[in-house]
Point group: C2
């Protein structure tokens, strides 16, 4: 049986890139799999783990002859990589990525691509707080959404190729506009991460004796925030640099709501607080109902467990 | 073998009260267990589940003859209950509670107690986002911290009784000053809950089409916040009413830090963001090291799993 793609190149062998390599190998999705990473250290690790047929730190050359090229690097590096690989890409190849921001990506990549190469931006909503090639999991994408954000000019055949690829990795596909993606993910992902980083940072600034007790009694809500706040710093720095407008817009709404809460606490407005705390239960119910469509991911059961409370 | 206490009364049969009833029964800690709750509906459920030897909605009378009385009701109800049970309590009985705020509790309770009755405030750091007598778990307190906040006037023998009781429920004991407790828990628990309630409320205010997608793609960080924001509204309303000063103090620090983040995003200050996102990893490591002392609680493994990411 022939593979889905004759040759696939993954650029960037962190958590997502190395998880893709694992599932591509397991499901025989590539005749030949090339893994490229600018770091010699990462390349050595990828070789040691046997994650790809070819491992190289020469990113430009890594795409030669590939039918599918996947960018799995921090957003700030994408423009330079697109410039380097653009001239080397095979005619009719498809380029895709895994970035958490979609609007800025398209503008960064397309100027450097030959006419016959299509770019189909993708964002698999899956991951852990761990980083690096050792952290990858073969079933990271199983039952997870992968959002594609092609433009109206993107040829359907290329969207179909990327769809088929992600489905073969176990993901469920949703197609939406890049700006819409950036707003929705700004709420579900970027703002929560910003808040978690902030609250853990606030705790880090406390006097040492209180800080040690905060860590000791972290089970009561804080623990979950520390997990989110342990996510890759460079990746998240880039998210906020490249999804600035949507994040600032949502942050402003959040700030208004937090100010109202603060005022209610200061005034002792029990009725307001109870009403706010009651209506949020409905969203939890809806989230749990959606959960039946693929959560929790068994691969993450042992990593993500944080029971919290008062 | 004789039980640890001849007679125990639990007032309030929600998540915590009913979990206590379960572990008291399982470990034979009471010769006779009385469960009291103001709600007829809750009493009926407790009877149906067979959680206690006596079930009553007459709270005042429920404490007659008991050696240990445990208040497991929302904080705002504690003063009235203390006033009702004070005159009925047996000489040399010990009173304790499970509230998430400790400073305000002591002042609310002690004026109503006879001289021979000691109050030893307690706060088990354990729970789930579920409420009611059906939600209780026999091993909810296993491997969890329980913080006691006696004053310097509290007789040691009563502190020892409450310590022995919680240890027999599987908990680990820590003793600290009530004001210190309220500050530490303000950071680890109250602020995270306030933030989670706020962010889920912000999402709830969105236009319907965006809201449905926020729910659909909630895996990316937001999902964990919805779990926290599904916690009991009355209990949490009371936490913010009774730990107002500590919460407002911590909220102010958090707001300053969030404003600095916002400014860095607006200015595109990549260096600041990366530094903030890097230093928070150290706290996660310390939290995970603490975790070896008793987390995760197997009883909660199936409830608390939320894998998050970009």
């Amino acid at each position: 049986m022939s593979a889905m793609f004759e040759k696939v190149t993954i650029i960037g062998m962190g958590l997502i890139g190395s998880s893709l390599a694992r599932v591509i190998k397991q499901n025989g999705l590539a005749g030949k799999l090339t893994a490229a990473d600018a770091s010699e250290e990462v390349c050595a690790k990828v070789k040691e783990l046997g994650l790809a047929d070819v491992v190289t730190h020469d990113i430009a050359k890594s795409v030669i002859g590939s039918n599918l090229v996947i960018l799995a690097i921090p957003i700030s590096g994408i423009k330079a990589v697109a410039e380097a690989i653009g001239p080397m890409m095979a005619p009719n190849a498809v380029l895709t990525d895994v970035s958490s921001v979609k609007g800025a990506i398209f503008e960064a990549v397309t100027p450097f691509l030959p006419d016959s190469v299509d770019f189909v931006p993708a964002h698999p909503i899956a991951g852990t707080e761990h980083s690096g090639p050792e952290a990858g999991l073969v079933d990271l994408f199983g039952g997870r959404w992968c959002i594609l954000t092609p433009t109206s000019d993107t040829p359907i055949k290329s969207v179909e190729k990327v769809t088929a690829f992600w489905e073969a990795c176990g993901a469920m596909i949703e197609i939406m506009d890049a700006q819409h993606h950036d707003l929705v993910l700004g709420i579900t992902s970027h703002l929560p991460h910003l808040i978690a980083y902030t609250i853990v940072g606030t705790a880090d600034d406390l006097e040492d004796d209180i800080k040690s007790e905060v860590i000791k009694f972290s089970a009561s809500g804080f623990r979950g925030f520390t997990r989110i706040a342990a996510s890759d710093p460079v990746m998240w720095r880039d998210v906020f640099m490249f999804n600035k407008d949507a994040v600032l817009e949502i942050l402003q709404r959040f700030n208004e709501d937090l100010t109202a809460m603060q005022k209610a606490i200061r005034r002792g407005d029990a009725k307001y607080l109870e009403e706010c705390f009651t209506r949020t239960r409905a969203i939890r119910r809806e989230v749990m109902e959606m959960g039946a469509e693929g959560y929790p991911n068994p691969a993450l059961m042992n990593q993500g467990t944080d029971s919290e409370k008062p």
